[in-house]
């Protein structure tokens, strides 16, 4: 028994109970490490609760082929990851990879999308890029229960796209984490991290915790926790809105970047992007814009009732690509920043955890440095 008031000790302390922290923690537990997750209270800025649930490949990684590879790797690992979670916890996270569509309304959108995806392909140096364009007829064949709005002229399609129930994913990861012997500590907001001999001591509102390795997967919390520890990562919030309808009979056999039908039958509608600082209140004009576009794309959605709306704050880096970095000045402190916590959960559990445990970093991580934001010419 530790002396009263002495910090509890772990091999790895993970800051953040959202999508990234628990995924990494599961991999660490598999390697026999003692892990705790330090989380905040009930009603805080929670990006992970505002997730759309897409495991999305097409369009990711503009300007960074390594991010395309990392996304592909996670998409390919997902089926096994989901099966493991279901076997161990009984929670079906609703994973499916039926391919995904981004529907294009009008010639301008098509041209813009062709240009954008074409550049990603070229940046990859001619490597295989699993995205193609399909016409309205092909879209209609893929969506037999949908009557497309007249403006829909086609779509970009990737067989690697899929989806998951993000809330069940969160629950499954938390359940598995505790089953496997992890220590979940809510109401443990970290106020500071200090070097203490061979380990770091983390001071929190709920007492202190000590570990030789610390993973900061704290979303926007990285902004304040990182710099004193040599991880000055210029992340910013970008607000996104989501609307959720009542449950309906199955209608969408595959995710579409702005619509997704959940296993339960709700249709999720999104996704906006606004610069609003840390204001996560709902903006009605944005809801209207999402609704109007949804009705233009699939008029039959019109009489579905909206039951819930959400605004959540994405964790965005300047190039919209992730950061996976170990501090130079504070070895053993790892920082992770990404707005694709759902898509990357499988890779984080299976690969990122190994890197934190001491394996060599996967090749993709050479691109996910902090230095890229500080070395770039002004």
């Amino acid at each position: 028994m530790p002396a009263p008031g002495a910090p509890r000790t772990f091999d790895v302390a993970v800051i953040g109970g959202g999508m990234i922290g628990p995924a990494v923690s599961l991999g660490l537990l598999e390697r026999g490490l003692r892990v705790c997750i330090l989380d905040e209270g009930d009603d805080v800025l929670r990006v992970a609760r505002g997730n759309f649930g897409l495991i999305w490949f097409q369009g990711k990684g503009f300007g960074m082929p390594r991010y395309v590879e990392w996304t592909r790797r996670s998409a390919m690992l997902y089926a096994d990851f989901a099966a493991e979670l279901k076997d161990s916890t009984g929670v079906d996270i609703g994973h499916a990879r039926p391919g995904g569509l981004e529907l294009l309304l009008g010639e301008d959108e098509l041209a813009h999308r062709q240009h954008y995806l074409g550049q990603i392909y070229q940046q990859g140096g001619g490597a295989n890029y699993e995205v193609e364009f399909i016409d309205r007829k092909q879209v209609a064949d893929m969506l037999p229960n949908v009557t497309l709005g007249e403006d829909v002229i086609g779509a970009s399609y990737s067989p690697l796209d899929g989806h998951v129930n993000p809330l069940f994913l969160l629950r499954a990861m938390h359940t598995r984490f505790q089953q496997a012997g992890g220590t979940y500590l809510p109401h443990h907001r970290v106020s500071g991290v200090r070097k203490d001999g061979d380990a770091y001591t983390l001071d929190t509102e709920g007492g202190s915790v000590s570990a030789p390795k610390v993973v900061i997967a704290a979303g926007h919390g990285l902004k304040t926790l990182g710099p004193p520890l040599g991880l000055d990562i210029p992340i910013r919030p970008q607000r996104g809105h989501i609307m959720v309808t009542e449950r309906a009979q199955p209608m969408l056999p595959m995710p579409i970047s702005a619509f997704r039908q959940t296993v339960e039958g709700s249709i999720m509608l999104g996704v906006s992007a606004e610069e609003a600082g840390y204001d996560d209140t709902i903006d009605t004009a944005t809801l209207h814009t999402i609704a109007a576009r949804a009705k233009r794309t699939m008029p039959q959605l019109g009489n579905l009732n909206i039951v819930r709306t959400w605004a959540a704050l994405r964790v965005l880096t300047p190039d919209k690509c992730p950061v996976y970095a170990e501090s130079d000045s504070h070895p053993g402190i790892f920082g992770i920043a990404s707005h694709s916590g759902v898509t990357l959960a499988a890779a984080n559990a299976k690969v990122t955890a190994g890197w934190i445990a001491g394996d060599p970093p996967p090749p993709e991580f050479e691109a996910f440095t902090v230095e890229r934001f500080h070395d770039a010419p002004a």
């Binding site: 309906a248 209608m251 039958g265 699939m298 039959q300």
Partner: protein, 99 residues
């Protein structure tokens, strides 16, 4: 399940699951349906359990019915109108054809 002790007021004919019944102007659809016969007004999309109006004031959302072709309307919040077509719902609603 319910009966009218007094039918003062203007009558209208409405249709519930294909059957014409009389209702009184001012009544909610949920009230008219309760007076027209016992039993569930819908089954749930989660387990298929039978449900019927619970609060009658727009809070519980148990009285969701298909009213004039639009599913999942709160029957306790909609007043009867002549010729209205009301249907019980089974499970999750459909998303009809293009409007």
């Amino acid at each position: 399940m319910m009966h009218r002790r007094n039918t003062a007021g203007e009558r209208v004919t409405i249709n519930i699951d294909g059957k014409n019944v009389e209702a009184v102007v001012g009544e909610s659809v949920a009230a008219a349906v309760l007076a027209a016969g016992a039993g569930a007004t819908r089954t749930t999309p989660v387990s298929g359990a039978p449900r019927a109006p619970y609060c009658m004031m727009g809070v519980c959302f148990e009285c969701l019915m298909d009213i004039d072709g639009i599913p999942n309307r709160q029957a306790c919040m909609v007043s009867v109108t002549p010729g209205m077509k009301i249907k019980r719902q089974a499970g999750a609603r459909t998303v009809g054809g293009a409007s």
